[in-house]
């Protein structure tokens, strides 16, 4: 029986991409970003993801947290590698040897390798960003395979509880401060943490009862609106999968997909075909307009 598609808040940006196509695209992009440490491929994946996000991101979404998270991840990864790795031929400067871990020569090669690691994090984060910024939570659950449906709901629910615990912590702390509580050492935090934990347990029990009342676990999850699978969804999903398969095949075949800047910095090896695989990820950006 065909179910008529009900317009959701996402359908005014037609043509929409099916949630499952988004999921496949994200998995393929993350696979490429993490399968190689070559910064060129990672930059291409990140640029493809940026194009897709710019095309699909609703104007009302706040992009600052994502930008800040990306910058922090990249800088932290580069900094850790620069300070912890002291190999490489081109020494930029030297830190005193008595500095724990960081003491020793700071090299251009370790900076480049740290940058490549940071770019990997940026590419991976941008690859999964559409799942939270473009799709609604129920879309993500819909995109999960049937076998993982319950797991997906459980994970999504527990992720929601994290923000709930944060809100509870702030309210309990404010209430205790109004009663004259001030933080004095670790032991004093008992007066905040115990109410927070008790509230979280109560919230969990309430949520479990509410879900049971709505028939959770009684059968397959039903949807008010069915997302259809169009040709464009298939093209996007298949091209993303093809890109990821190219990288997997290249690694299995022994083609150099990685980059190693030590001992002397050199250009990364680049295969034109793998560049094409990265470009395939930009496909969703071209249907939006």
């Amino acid at each position: 029986m065909s179910v008529p598609r009900v317009l959701s808040d996402r359908d005014d940006r037609s043509p929409a991409l099916a949630p499952r196509a988004w999921l496949i695209w994200s998995i393929a992009a993350v696979t490429i970003a993490l399968l190689t440490n070559n910064p060129v491929y990672r930059v291409l994946v990140a640029l493809a993801a940026v194009n897709v996000l710019v095309a699909w991101l609703p104007p009302e979404r706040n992009r600052k947290p994502l930008a800040l998270g990306l910058a922090a991840a990249a800088i932290l990864a580069a900094l850790v590698n620069v300070l912890a790795s002291h190999t490489g031929a081109d020494v930029l400067f030297r830190l005193p040897v008595w500095v724990p871990l960081a003491g020793g020569p700071i090299t251009l090669e370790s900076l480049a390798y740290g940058g490549a690691m940071g770019m990997g994090l940026v590419a991976a984060l941008l690859a999964v960003a559409p799942l939270s910024l473009v799709l609604e939570p129920h879309d993500v659950v819909d995109a999960m395979p049937n076998a993982l449906e319950r797991t997906g709901i459980a994970v999504a629910t527990s992720m929601n509880l994290v923000s709930g615990i944060g809100r509870t912590f702030v309210s309990v702390r404010d209430a205790q401060q109004m009663r004259g509580w001030r933080p004095r050492g670790l032991r004093s935090w008992n007066e905040v943490l115990v109410p927070v934990v008790l509230t979280a347990i109560e919230d969990s029990v309430l949520l479990a009862e509410a879900m049971e009342a709505r028939g959770f676990g009684a059968g397959r999850r039903t949807s008010y609106s069915m997302s259809s699978w169009t040709r464009w969804d298939a093209v996007v999903a298949l091209s993303a999968l093809a890109g990821a398969l190219l990288f997997i095949g290249a690694r299995v075949a022994g083609v150099a997909v990685d980059w190693y800047p030590y001992p002397t910095l050199a250009l990364p090896p680049i295969q034109p075909l793998l560049v094409l695989g990265c470009l395939a990820l930009a496909l969703p950006a071209f249907r939006r307009d």
Binding site: A242, V255, A256
Partner: protein, 278 residues
């Protein structure tokens, strides 16, 4: 067949075709090829300046750097680093023992010379290197600090007449096998390889150059091939010993075009989006 299915099948076929083109060249030996049709040189320069050279013959159109080094008969050991490939930890007895690979103070730098050209520093492991007829693989034990200097020139390691005489000389080529993980002497087999894998052998021309009238035993042949050891001259005297800067290749060009295009497109979209919002 619906159009969607046709598109899916087309994409799948394209992916399979692309994967097939990524696979390394098949090592199958052509039916008409004589054993040892191609040659590549191996040059090893130790920390004390002594140099060991080998000329290795092979039938396939190309071999990996790891295969070449193994078949040269020079004892070595290495370690695999993911997609980087195999790094050489110890070579020809140097260092005798090691804890770190690559070593913190000294390491084996790998160089490649294509078609008799100057040495180029390799930034991938020897298992990821592909060498063809006339190429050379060089190793030099260098300090970890500073730019690695290339080993002695491969010129003359594989004489030009090797190619012309290899067909007749390789009737009974000694086959050398060495375990990459061991530093011991490689085992030697006196019979030619019966299988279809790339059959590599030390250059038969070296055997021809031997003044003895009687055919040497397998052990002697290896000894002759391995006997090319000289003391290197000053590093700065040979212009081919400095690694030239590697120019942009097609991959880099493709990546630059793709990256520039994607970045420009993203900027353009952002500008249009801002104008629309205003």
């Amino acid at each position: 067949m619906t159009r969607a299915r046709a598109v899916a099948l087309g994409l799948a076929a394209l992916t399979l075709g692309a994967l097939a083109s990524l696979a390394p060249a098949a090592p199958a030996v052509p039916m008409c090829a004589a054993a040892g049709a191609h040659h590549a040189a191996v040059v090893v320069e130790h920390g004390d300046g002594s140099v060991a050279t080998r000329c290795v013959a092979f039938d396939a159109s190309d071999v990996t750097g790891e295969q070449l080094l193994t078949q040269s008969g020079i004892a070595w050991s290495g370690q695999t680093f993911g997609g980087f490939g195999v790094a050489v930890c110890a070579l020809d007895g140097e260092p005798a023992r090691y804890l770190d690979c690559p070593g913190k103070d000294n390491y084996w730098a790998v160089f490649v010379s294509s078609g008799g050209g100057a040495w180029r520093l390799s930034n991938v492991g020897i298992s990821s290197l592909t060498l063809r007829d006339g190429d050379a693989e060089g190793f030099r034990y260098v300090p970890a600090a500073g730019d690695p200097v290339a080993p002695a020139s491969p010129a003359g390691v594989c004489p030009a007449r090797v190619a012309a005489t290899s067909g007749a000389a390789s009737a009974v080529p000694p086959r050398v096998t060495a375990s990459p993980g061991s530093l011991g002497s490689p085992s030697i087999e006196g019979s030619p390889s019966p299988d279809s894998t790339p059959s590599l052998s030390p250059s038969p021309s070296q055997t021809l150059a031997r003044p003895s009238e009687t055919p040497p035993t397998s052990t002697e042949r290896i000894a002759v091939v391995a006997a090319t050891a000289t003391v290197a001259g000053p590093a700065g005297s040979d212009p081919s010993r400095t690694p030239p800067p590697s120019g942009p290749d097609t991959g880099l060009l493709a990546a630059s075009v793709a990256g520039g295009g994607l970045a420009g497109l993203a900027l353009l979209r952002l500008v249009v989006r801002r104008r629309r919002l205003r």
